[in-house]
């Protein structure tokens, strides 16, 4: 895709992406504490809009998707569909203990547990809920990954796990 000696227009696009990413927020069955802390990032105290980060409603406009919540059975297929609508390059941040493994709800009968069973995740944020400072730090990590991926020509150099498969109805299947 792009290498250090790429043309000016490609380097300009990568610079613009890293300087002003647009994010979208998806709640996949959470208790809302993480969502409140994400919205607190936009408020005058922590203020990520001064970095050029804009919260968009549509996944088709977004570079980074922030997912909260343990994935309930009802939300699994919907989360997958929303992720597929995002244009490349796209990054996913899983927030909180619930996003990493299911958190305190792991093993319950309506919960799948962990966002990485449904979509590939690029950054995890620990906490229950994490502070807004930590969420901003995760976004910055994603931007650094973006720059590295641009230098390596795509995301393939760090993908370790295959993408979760889907069944005929569009729901993810864990083997």
């Amino acid at each position: 895709m792009t290498v250090p000696s790429a043309g000016l227009s490609r380097r300009l696009v990568n610079w613009a992406r890293a300087k002003s990413p647009w994010i979208t927020i998806y709640n996949s069955g959470a208790c809302n504490a993480c969502d409140i802390e994400i919205i607190a990032c936009l408020m005058p105290r922590f203020d990520i809009e001064r970095f050029g980060i804009l919260v968009e409603g549509s996944p088709r406009h977004a570079d980074i998707m922030i997912v909260t919540g343990n994935v309930t059975l009802k939300q699994a297929s919907r989360l997958r569909r929303v992720w597929e609508q995002m244009p490349e390059p796209k990054y996913v941040i899983a927030v909180g203990a619930c996003g990493a493994s299911g958190g305190v709800f792991k093993g319950l009968y309506h919960v799948m547990g962990g966002v990485d069973g449904v979509i590939p995740v690029d950054a995890y944020v620990a906490g229950c809920p994490p502070r807004p400072d930590e969420i901003i730090s995760a976004v910055v990590t994603c931007l650094n990954l973006l720059k590295e991926d641009a230098a390596h020509g795509g995301k393939e150099w760090r993908q370790k796990k295959p993408l979760p498969r889907m069944d005929a109805k569009g729901s993810p299947v864990i083997p």
């Binding site: 959470a30 809302n32 409140i36 005058p44 105290r45 996944p59 009802k74 958190g103 709800f105 809920p129």
Partner: protein, 393 residues
């Protein structure tokens, strides 16, 4: 003329929670509303039967992120009554301080979200900035901004030292002054009055008939507040008043919530100044005797009820949670009939829905109109389809 179904799917920028509305509309007026709200059902009641009392409190706290202390306190209060424990007064005062601070942060959050729904982003930013003062106080007292985990069976987990009390008392005048500004704003500000007045009106008889609770019911004149009717924690000793209104629309609910903000600040000030000395917890036995209790609490959104039954072991036999948002949904479905589609976010936000608390929901359609075929319309702004079946009524 056939009616049009507009699904507004679970991923949308209006609310923070996943909810699927299916609005059946006739032009710009809403005929009926159907809600599908099981996106956050996690199976907590079944899991609570398998955890002992120490492990079940963090689970119940995470039913909802905004009213987390409410769920933990109502459960702890119920188990203490079954065990017949006498909780020391200092612990009751500390629980009351945290409960009222939680009410304040919830109402300020609501005010910001309601302002955002009508496009008044300045008020959104102001209220959430003031909310940070409340969050700082909670963080100093308990260690976390949300999910404070202050409750134990038999009392409170950690004590307040004088430095924390002084820091909290120094923030109280600032909050009082800001709340006074919001009181003036809700009486004078043209934007608010135009969008909130006359929208989603509900009379007192309707509020009683459809089972509304909390500020939604108090705005219609129903004088019901669990803190006064069934006093618990320290509310019997603190001077405070119940706030009601007669308007019954979104404007009335705004006025009730801002009035409750004012009362909460005064309760916090009184409790901080008059907190009694003493121990903060008593030792609780490991097993609870056999018994049952209906434990009620006034959460920021209304009356929260836990029905608990114990069976002599260290786990509960059953905890049945009835959240205030569940009781309010029928009333919101009734309020929405014959209103404009553009007012939907305001009316739904006015009952302050907490869908993860609810975690199970349905609205039964009371005015079934036989013989009307429903045509599926193009999706507007949502990325996902609702459920796939067509409905003939």
């Amino acid at each position: 003329m056939p009616e049009v179904v507009i699904p507004i799917g679970p991923q949308h920028p209006a609310l923070k929670e996943p909810v699927n509305f299916r609005i059946i509309a006739d032009g710009e007026k809403i005929v009926r509303l159907e809600l599908e709200l099981s996106y956050t059902h996690r199976g907590i009641e079944k899991a609570a039967e398998q955890r002992n009392f120490i492990r079940v409190l963090p689970l119940l706290e995470r039913v909802c992120g905004i009213c987390s202390h409410s769920h933990a306190t109502v459960f702890a209060k119920g188990i203490e009554e079954i065990m017949q424990l006498e909780v020391p007064p200092r612990a009751q005062y500390i629980r009351t301080i945290i409960a009222e601070l939680e009410r304040m942060h919830s109402h300020l959050l609501w005010l910001g979200v309601a302002a955002h729904e009508i496009g008044f982003n300045t008020l959104f930013m102001w209220t959430w900035r003031d909310r940070e003062a409340v969050q700082d106080t909670l963080e100093e007292m308990s260690g976390n901004r949300v999910h404070y985990n202050m409750n134990e069976i038999g009392g409170v987990r950690c004590d307040l030292n004088p430095a924390q009390v002084n820091a909290a008392l120094s923030r109280v005048p600032v909050l009082e002054e800001r709340i006074k500004k919001y009181v003036d704003m809700v009486n004078d500000e043209e934007t608010l009055l135009l969008r909130f007045r006359g929208v989603g009106r509900m009379s007192k008889e309707e509020a009683l008939k459809y089972g509304a609770v909390g500020p939604t019911a108090r705005a219609s004149g129903v004088d019901y507040d669990v803190r006064r009717d069934d006093p618990y924690l320290a509310y019997a000793e603190v001077p405070w008043d119940v706030v009601t209104d007669t308007e019954g629309d979104v404007y009335g609910r705004t006025r009730v919530r801002i009035g409750e903000l004012r009362e909460s600040v005064q309760i916090v000030r009184y409790c901080l100044e008059n907190i009694p000395a003493g121990p903060i917890r008593v030792d609780a036995p490991k097993n609870a005797p056999k018994g049952e209790i209906l434990s009620r609490y006034e959460a920021p959104r209304g009356e929260l009820a836990h029905y608990i039954r114990t069976n002599g072991t260290d786990k509960v036999e059953r905890v049945d949670i009835r959240t205030p948002t569940l009781a309010n949904w029928t009333s919101v479905a009734m309020c929405l009939v014959n209103q404009n589609i553009a007012d939907i976010p305001v009316i739904v936000a006015a009952i302050d829905p907490c869908l993860s608390c609810t975690s199970r929901l349905t609205v039964t359609n009371r005015e079934n109109r036989p013989g009307v075929a429903v045509v599926r319309a193009a999706r507007r702004g949502s990325s996902l389809p609702g459920s796939e079946d067509e409905e003939k009524l």
